[in-house]
């Protein structure tokens, strides 16, 4: 099967510092890839490069579009790229205030993408929003509340609903569970796992939490100082780490 996403030689420098050094991987449809590593290892930069939010110094990102053609994202026009990001891709941010419109109600947040692709029927938009709020376990009577009145966990769930409403095939997640307390984290992870399986989403999830990687991902990419140290199936890498750094990372997890 042809991969959904093919990343080759992605490199980004900030001045003399190398944030990402020649990173390459492929992602199949429905596959969940976790990018793990300590703070400052270049995980979030990698995600920004893949999403095209930061211009890479070298390397390419190719994506298989819905019509089956694989295109280098650099060759897409701004219009095509923005349409792709709005419909076929999702981006769940670490900081929900970056990923949501905080002054707009939950329903408006979920409906924005629908209106962006031309839906002009209020009743239908609202019904879809209600459906998605239910799927991310937000009570229907909160549909008209702005996310400023939501807890951290609810905000993340709302972000997920807002991204999934157009049925994307690829979702990028940047530390979606950080800053949440453990029980809320567990519930959110459970929900993400359910949705990913149900919708057959391909996901790149950046996390420093190996438990998140173990729970959600099929494959793991271990990063350190801008380089990929080790990559492989999640169980394989976490149970039998080969690289010294990965061994250190795995052994520094506290057993509950």
């Amino acid at each position: 099967m042809e991969p959904l996403l093919t990343v080759e030689g992605l490199t980004k420098r900030y001045g003399r510092r190398l944030a990402c050094d020649g990173i390459g991987f492929t992602l199949d449809p429905g596959e969940v890839l976790a990018v793990v590593g300590e703070s400052g290892s270049g995980k979030s930069t990698l995600l920004s490069l893949v999403a095209g939010e930061v211009a890479a110094d070298a390397g390419s990102v190719a994506y298989r579009l819905r019509d089956g053609a694989t295109r280098d994202l650099d060759t897409l026009s701004v219009v095509e790229r923005r349409a792709l990001m709005r419909t076929d891709w999702g981006f769940v941010r670490q900081d929900a205030t970056q990923g949501l419109r905080m002054a707009v109600s939950a329903g408006g947040n979920v409906g924005e993408r629908l209106m962006g692709v031309g839906d002009r029927h209020y009743g239908r938009i609202r019904a879809t929003a209600l459906d998605w709020l239910a799927r991310v376990e937000i009570a229907p009577d909160r549909i008209d509340d702005p996310p400023t009145r939501f807890s951290g966990g609810m905000r993340q769930r709302l972000q997920i609903a807002r991204n999934l409403v157009t049925a994307p095939r690829l979702v990028l997640m940047d530390e979606p569970t950080s800053g949440l307390d453990v029980s809320v984290q567990a519930r959110l992870l459970d929900m993400i796992r359910g949705l990913v399986a149900e919708l057959g989403l391909a996901v790149i999830i950046v996390t420093h939490d190996l438990a998140v990687a173990r729970l959600l991902s099929h494959r793991v990419l271990v990063m350190r100082a801008g380089r990929v140290i080790e990559t492989g199936l999640t169980d394989q890498v976490l149970d039998d780490p080969q690289a010294a750094y990965t061994q250190l990372l795995v052994s520094s997890v506290l057993a509950a």
Binding site: S105, G107, G111, M115, Y122, D144
Partner: protein, 295 residues
């Protein structure tokens, strides 16, 4: 708008100022912006707005557009909330009488240039007339997207989904589209535009209007336009179509129906009456013998 008579245009009206206050170089720059705005209906053209001898928010943009298009033979009408006799309207009329020596009027039909704040006259406009709007905030997407770089991109790519998010919020909160002024319109099937804080009651008058409509925002330094006979469509949802306000009574002075009314408080015991916001329209009707219940 009559073609400026260049011989008299540069002659000051005895005030020490150039004709219509602005220097000819500035007028030329503003006219270029106006021409571009007419060529791209609804597109906000940046221009180098000058300091005017009035505070921002009092119509510095409209005054500059008016100054740039006035000719010696023009007849100017200025309205503020529909009225010819409010401070802002009187001051701007006097300003151009003093600096350009042109004729002014309060009669819509007699004017060649009408500068307005917040209303479109009730009397239908005709070909050859120019309506100049004073605009405080030209960007319809501003309150949803604060970044100017982003709003420009949204306009360039005609990505107007965000505008509907605003209307969605209205319906979600109030059960209907509660935006009553500065109601966004789509011009000539392309650009979404803020019609300035006119009541949405006036939006239908913009559509296929025989007069030229120019919009000037002084503080924000933008000019935009609707050429004569251009399609102007108010945004809405399929199941919540655009509707204008309706009033359950006629004007108390002239008995006019289907006009925009102002509420006037009469005393401190709850007395009030509703009268035409367009004073010229009301006076014309009364002169023609129409009377309302309070007249």
């Amino acid at each position: 708008m009559n073609a400026p008579d260049l011989a008299s245009a540069t002659v000051s009206a005895g005030t020490g100022y150039n004709f219509a206050y602005l220097d000819e170089g500035t007028k030329r720059m503003i006219r270029r912006a106006i021409l571009k705005a007419i060529a791209i209906p609804g597109y906000q053209v940046p221009f180098a707005a000058r300091e005017m001898p009035m505070p921002y928010g009092w119509g510095t943009g409209g005054v500059q557009v008016t100054a740039a298009i006035l000719g010696a033979a023009d007849v100017l009408k200025v309205i503020d909330q529909g009225a010819d006799d409010t401070t802002n309207a009187v001051s701007i009329r006097r300003f151009f009488t003093a600096t350009a020596g042109i004729a002014t009027t309060t009669r819509t039909a007699e004017a060649t240039v009408i500068q307005t704040r917040h209303r479109i006259p009730e009397a239908p406009l005709a070909e050859g007339q120019v309506l100049v709007y004073q605009v405080p905030i030209p960007e319809p997407l501003r309150f949803l997207e604060p970044r100017e770089t982003e709003t420009r991109q949204l306009h360039a790519l005609a990505e107007y989904g965000l505008m509907h998010v605003k209307l969605y919020e209205d319906i979600a909160r109030h059960g209907h589209i509660a935006t009553t002024y500065a109601y966004p319109v789509e011009v000539a099937g392309r650009y979404v535009m803020d019609p300035s804080p006119t009541p949405k009651f006036d939006n239908p008058k913009m559509d296929d209007c025989p007069a030229l409509q120019l919009f000037g925002a002084g503080r924000e330094k933008r000019i935009y336009a609707i050429p004569p006979h251009t399609r102007v469509r108010s945004l809405d949802f399929e199941d919540h179509p655009f509707r204008v306000q309706s009033f359950d009574r006629p004007c108390a002075l002239c008995g006019a129906e289907d006009v925009y009314l102002d509420e006037v408080v009469l005393d401190d015991a709850g007395g009030r009456m509703f009268v035409c916001s367009d004073t010229d329209h009301c006076e014309t009707r009364r002169a023609d013998g129409h009377t309302g219940e309070a007249a």
